[in-house]
């Protein structure tokens, strides 16, 4: 896989989206990331941005704000076009917006696009994203599929929370390595849970999900025992 292809897929990969045509595609990305330090660094930086955006506070604007904006636009319309034009444009500011011709240069469009993308990512992360203590965990789970799943989740969350609190002191390589391993287990967990959802009484699939939770617990226990 080439760098360009990996870079364009990184965002989806980090979001653990199920958009891949095959498991091989994920494997190809992971193999490339293992071998290419440039892409690995980029992935790390994107992870950092994603994690940092989760920390951003979610501001809910006061209800009066939109009314004030709307009023300000209306006022501007009336100032520019006069009372006669205002009467003609019965649809208000939206009509005014439609009637205007906006022209932007390519760099302006690119900048606006990037800004919009950041706002969307930050907004989505703020609304739906997890706190760092829950990172890599809730993604892999929806409703409970095992009778003891609540207990398992609580245990893992507690351990992961304690580790995340210490992670800021780790160097980049260690953090990247740990997160990569966790993500890989989470991916498998998600896949097996999806299969179990299709047939919740399949004892074999239940055992597979249990084994993956246990693998995750093992990894967290390793880090605890290593005193990172």
């Amino acid at each position: 896989m080439e760098c360009r292809a990996v870079v364009s897929s990184l965002s989806d990969y980090l979001d653990a989206r199920n958009i891949w045509e095959s498991d091989d595609e994920v494997e190809q990305i992971e193999t490339h990331l293992t071998n290419c330090p440039t892409c690995r660094n980029l992935k790390l930086e994107l992870s950092e941005i994603k994690n940092a955006s989760r920390e951003l506070p979610l501001h809910t604007p006061p209800t009066a704000l939109w009314a004030r904006i709307s009023k300000a636009i209306e006022t501007e319309i009336s100032t520019e076009n006069g009372s006669a034009r205002r009467t003609q444009n019965a649809s208000g500011w939206w009509g005014w917006m439609n009637s205007r011709k906006f022209t932007f240069s390519l760099p302006q469009l690119a900048a606006a696009g990037a800004f919009a993308a950041i706002l969307i990512v930050a907004g989505i992360s703020g609304i739906f994203g997890e706190k760092p203590s829950q990172m890599n965990f809730r993604n892999a789970q929806g409703s409970l599929l095992l009778p003891e799943e609540d207990e398992i989740k609580a245990n893992l969350e507690r351990r992961l929370g304690a580790i995340n609190a210490r992670k800021a002191q780790w160097d980049l390589e260690r953090r990247s390595d740990f997160e990569q391993r966790m993500n890989r287990i989470d991916e498998s967990l998600k896949r097996c849970r999806n299969m179990l959802e299709d047939n919740p009484n399949d004892a074999g699939r239940q055992e597979m999900v249990r084994a993956l939770y246990d693998e995750k617990r093992q990894l967290l226990e390793d880090v605890e025992r290593l005193k990172w």
Binding site: R181, S188, G204, E207, M208, E215, Q218, D222, R225, L226
Partner: protein
């Protein structure tokens, strides 16, 4: 209770020419080790063979544990090339020996223990090799292989996240054997007359039962539940992405 073996020799200020020459010779020999950056760590602990316990926590490097000639001693030899790694070996009041590596750097251990010792080993990066023991074995590697040979133990728990796990040894009637790897291969080489109940699960790589004639409860590409003989011991093999191979001991 603790006996230390000195790891380096200091030059003597003695006037005796013979000793001076000997010391100089030793320093010359030692210089090669220093120039390559390697340092050694050697320690021995007196233990009771019936209650011998060892725990090793290593950040990176190989851990080799084997049955030693002396049934009353745990002898630790380690070699590390990075000064940032610090090795701490202690023994508690119950006689359990704990070896812990902190800091970054690779440390390779070669440890001799009484054959009946219980051991608990962890290495984040590096292999674990256990040979000829009869006590409980717990081996855990995040990134590396686990190889267990010539075992006569009733309790084995070996798992790695990334790496292969292989086991070769006796299957005791009351034994419980768990071998797991998230992304590697799992191999178990067992006596032809072994008496066990098997649970083997491989999500991706498949399960190969070799020449064992099993009585199946479940038999699919991803999951096998079966017994061999009277099914007294319990063997559990799991890998998410690798394959499972059962072989008869020649």
């Amino acid at each position: 209770m603790v006996k230390e073996i000195p790891s380096s020799t200091q030059s003597s200020k003695s006037a005796a020419k013979f000793l001076s020459a000997l010391t100089a010779g030793f320093l010359v020999l030692n210089a090669s080790a220093t120039s390559s950056g390697a340092q050694t760590f050697n320690r021995a602990f007196a233990v009771s063979p019936e209650k011998s316990e060892l725990e090793v926590v290593n950040q990176a490097g190989t851990i080799k544990v084997t049955a030693g000639a002396n049934p009353n001693k745990i002898v630790i030899n380690a070699r590390h090339s990075d000064g940032a790694a610090k090795i701490n070996a202690t023994q508690n009041a119950l006689g359990k020996v704990k070896v812990e590596v902190t800091g970054r750097g690779k440390v390779d251990f070669e440890i001799a223990v009484p054959a009946s010792s219980s051991i608990d080993l962890l290495s984040y990066q590096g292999a674990i090799v256990v040979t000829n023991l009869a006590g409980a074995v717990r081996a855990r590697v995040t990134d590396g292989d686990i190889q267990i040979d010539g075992l006569r133990s009733a309790r084995v728990d070996a798992s790695c996240t990334q790496g292969n796990v292989s086991f070769s040894g006796e299957v005791l009637p009351s034994g419980r054997y768990t071998l797991k790897s998230f992304s590697g291969r799992v191999d178990a080489i067992l006596p032809a007359d072994a008496d066990f109940k098997l649970s083997a699960s491989s999500f991706r790589g498949g399960i190969d039962l070799g020449a064992f004639q099993m009585k199946f409860d479940k038999n699919s590409h991803q999951l096998v539940e079966a017994s061999h003989g009277a099914g007294r011991a319990s063997i559990s093999l799991w890998t998410q992405e690798g394959s499972i191979h059962l072989r008869r001991k020649p």
